[in-house]
C-alpha cells in the first residue's frame, strides 16, 4: 500500500509541475468543442430532431444530454488511460531497473498511477460538466446520483485492467503514440460516445462490449437519462468488474514479459 500511495504522490508532483493548466485546458477544450460541434450539427443539420430509430435504441430524444454523458465518460476513460505511457517513460528515463530493485511490481505501479488519474479525472469531470451544462442544452434533471457514482466506481477496475493491457502493449512496441491514438480513437468509436452502439455492425458491437468504456457509457446514460439507481445498474457493474479482471490478468501477463524484455535490452 505504501508503494501505491508514494506513486500517487509522485504523480501529483510531476503533474503539478509538468502539465498543470495546459494539459487540463486541452482536455476541457477538447470535450467542449466536441460538444459544440455536436450541438451545431444537431441544430442545423438535423433541425433539433432525432430519428425514431434513435429514440427506440436509446429510450430518449434528448440528444445533447446523450452526447454530454458520452463525452464525460470518454474524458474519464481518457484520463484514466493516460498513464499507459508511464511504464515506457520509466524505461526511457532509466528508472525501471531502480523501481524493480526497490520491489515495485507492475500492478502496484499501475494502481498508484491510476489512483492519481482517478482523482484528477473526478475534478476534471466536474469542471467539464459545470462548463457545458449552462449552454449545451443538456440536462441532468433526471439523474440518479447513486447510479452515476456506481458507474464511476465500477469503471475504476475496468479501466485499470485495460490500462495494464495497454501499458504492456506500449512497452512492447516502444511507441506510446501509436497505441494511444489507435486505442483511444477506436475506443471512442466502438463505445458509442456520440451515437448509439446499435448503429454499428454486429461484430463491432461485440468488440465494443469488450471495452470498459462501452459499459461505463451505458451505465452513465442509464443513470442520467433514465434515472437508474445503483441497484438497477448492478448487473452492468459486475460485467465491468469481470472485464477489468480479464483485461487485468492479460495485462499483467503482457506487462511482465514486456518489462522483462525491457530490462534485458540494455544488458
Amino acid at each position: 500500500m505504501r508503494a501505491i500511495l508514494a506513486t500517487w504522490r509522485r504523480e501529483s508532483w510531476i503533474h503539478a509541475r509538468s502539465y498543470r493548466l495546459s494539459f487540463f485546458g486541452a482536455a476541457l477544450l477538447s470535450a467542449l468543442f466536441t460538444l459544440l460541434a455536436g450541438r451545431v450539427l444537431y441544430r442545423t443539420v438535423f433541425g433539433g430532431q432525432v430519428t425514431p430509430a434513435f429514440i427506440e435504441m436509446t429510450g430518449t430524444r434528448d440528444y445533447m444530454t446523450f452526447l454530454l454523458v458520452g463525452l464525460l465518460a470518454n474524458s474519464y476513460a481518457f484520463r484514466m488511460l493516460y498513464c499507459v505511457r508511464n511504464v515506457l517513460e520509466e524505461h526511457e528515463m532509466g528508472t525501471l531497473p531502480a523501481l524493480r530493485l526497490a520491489g515495485m511490481t507492475s500492478a502496484r505501479f499501475q494502481l498508484g498511477c491510476a489512483g492519481f488519474a482517478a482523482c484528477y479525472a473526478l475534478v476534471e469531470l466536474f469542471i467539464i460538466a459545470g462548463a457545458a451544462l449552462p449552454w449545451s442544452g443538456a440536462s441532468f434533471g433526471m439523474a440518479d446520483a447513486s447510479g452515476i457514482a456506481l458507474a464511476f466506481v465500477a469503471g475504476l477496475p475496468g479501466l485499470l485492467g485495460f490500462s495494464m493491457l495497454l501499458s504492456g502493449l506500449v512497452l512492447v512496441v516502444r511507441n506510446r503514440l501509436v497505441v494511444e491514438s489507435f486505442a483511444f480513437t477506436l475506443m471512442a468509436l466502438l463505445a458509442g460516445v456520440a451515437f448509439p452502439v446499435s448503429y454499428l455492425p454486429v461484430p463491432l458491437q461485440a468488440l465494443g462490449h469488450a471495452l470498459p468504456l462501452t459499459w461505463i457509457v451505458g451505465m452513465l446514460r442509464g443513470a442520467v437519462l433514465h434515472g437508474a439507481d445503483a441497484r438497477a445498474l448492478m448487473p452492468e457493474a459486475l460485467a465491468l468488474l469481470g472485464i477489468g479482471i480479464v483485461h487485468g490478468a492479460l495485462g499483467i501477463f503482457v506487462l511482465r514479459r514486456a518489462v522483462r524484455d525491457a530490462l534485458a535490452v540494455a544488458a
Partner: protein, 324 residues
C-alpha cells in the same frame, strides 16, 4: 557473500514488434561464469565492451534471470528468492539516468525510500544523511532537471544507498565526471566497503580507478572469467615488454650504438628529440633500466630523468582487445 556458479545467459536479437517479431541466432553474453563477491571489499569486473559485465551484474541483482547456472546473495537464490534478495542489493549505473528529473533531490530520495519501506523521521534522517554524504544538501530542494551532470550522478549514488544495501553494483559510476567529483565518489566507495562492510562490484573503463579501489579483480572476456587476482598479481602475470625511458642532455654521439652492444639482444631502442635533450626509449622483455643508465653514465652523458614504466591494467585490456 555473493556467489555465482556456472552462470549462462544468451540473447536473441529481435527485429520487428508484436506479431512481426523475428528472432536472430542466440548470442552468448555470459558463458559459465563463476564469481565470488565478499562483503567489505571492492571487487572489480573488467572487460571490453560486450564482454558480459553488465549482464552479469544484472543477473546478480535479480534484474535478469540466468539461462542456467546459479547465483546467490548471502545464501538466497537470485531467481527463487528474488524478492528477498532485492532489499540487500542496489545498483548505480553511470550517466544521468534512474532519476525523476521533475522531482527535487529530496523528493527522489523520499520516493525510493518509501518503496523500500522507510517512512517518517527515519526516512527524513536517512535522506539528510545521504544528501550530506554526496554534498547535495544545499540543492536538495531544486529540481533534478536543473542539476549538472555531476550533481545528478551524486544523487544517483544517494539513491543507490537509500536502502543501506549490503551489496552494491557500480556500473561505470564515474563515467564522464569531473576529476574532483570522481575523486569524491571513489572516497565514498572506499568508505562504504571499509567502514560499512558493503560488498561492492565495480565495473569501470578507468583503469586507475580500478587499480585504486579494487581489492580483487576478475577479468571477463566473452562471458567467462579469464583472469583473477589483485591488480599487482594481474600485472605481474602480463607478458608485455617493459619500457624504460631515459632523458639525457644533448645528442651524445655513439650512445645508441653503445647501448645496442651492451644490452641483451632483442632490446628495441628509439630516440626522440626533447626540448631539454634527447629521450631514449628502450623496450625489452625484462627491465633494463639499471643497465641502460650505467651505459649512459659510462659514456659521460648527463641523465636528467630515468624511469621504468610498469605494465598496467590498461595493457591487460589491450591484450584482451588484441585477442578478440
Amino acid at each position: 557473500m555473493i556467489r555465482a556458479e556456472g552462470l549462462c545467459k544468451s540473447f536473441r536479437a529481435r527485429t520487428g514488434r508484436l506479431l512481426w517479431v523475428r528472432h536472430g541466432a542466440p548470442k552468448v553474453a555470459v558463458d559459465g561464469l563463476d564469481l565470488d563477491v565478499p562483503e567489505g571489499a571492492v571487487t572489480g569486473l573488467l572487460g571490453l565492451n560486450g564482454a558480459g559485465k553488465s549482464t552479469t551484474i544484472k543477473m546478480l541483482a535479480t534484474l535478469l534471470e540466468p539461462d542456467s547456472g546459479r547465483a546467490s546473495v548471502d545464501g538466497l537464490d537470485v531467481v527463487r528468492d528474488a524478492a528477498r534478495v532485492r532489499p540487500l542489493v542496489n545498483m548505480i549505473a553511470g550517466g544521468e539516468r534512474s532519476l525523476y528529473l521533475r522531482l527535487t533531490a529530496r523528493e527522489n530520495l523520499w520516493y525510493f525510500g518509501q518503496l523500500y519501506g522507510l517512512s517518517g523521521g527515519a526516512l527524513d534522517d536517512r535522506i539528510d544523511e545521504l544528501l550530506e554524504l554526496v554534498d547535495l544538501r544545499a540543492a536538495a530542494g531544486d529540481r533534478v532537471e536543473t542539476y549538472s551532470k555531476g550533481m545528478r550522478q551524486r544523487l544517483q549514488i544517494a539513491r543507490g544507498l537509500v536502502n543501506r544495501p549490503r551489496y552494491l553494483f557500480l556500473d561505470e559510476p564515474t563515467l564522464g565526471l569531473d576529476v574532483p567529483v570522481a575523486r569524491r565518489l571513489r572516497a565514498v566507495t572506499r568508505q562504504l566497503a571499509r567502514e560499512q562492510g558493503c560488498g561492492i562490484v565495480l565495473t569501470s573503463h578507468d583503469m586507475a580507478e580500478v587499480e585504486e579501489l579494487c581489492d580483487h579483480i576478475s577479468v571477463i572476456d566473452r562471458g567467462r572469467i579469464v583472469r583473477e587476482g589483485t591488480a599487482a598479481q594481474l600485472k605481474a602475470g602480463l607478458v608485455v615488454e617493459r619500457l624504460t625511458r631515459i632523458l639525457v642532455t644533448g645528442n651524445p654521439e655513439g650512445l645508441i650504438d653503445a647501448l645496442r652492444s651492451s644490452l641483451p639482444p632483442g632490446v628495441r631502442i628509439e630516440t626522440a628529440p626533447d626540448e631539454r635533450g634527447t629521450l631514449i626509449s628502450l623496450a625489452a622483455p625484462d627491465d633494463v633500466t639499471g643497465a641502460a643508465v650505467a651505459v649512459v653514465a659510462a659514456r659521460g652523458a648527463h641523465v636528467l630523468r630515468a624511469e621504468s614504466v610498469e605494465p598496467s591494467l590498461a595493457d591487460l585490456m589491450l591484450q584482451l582487445g588484441g585477442s578478440s
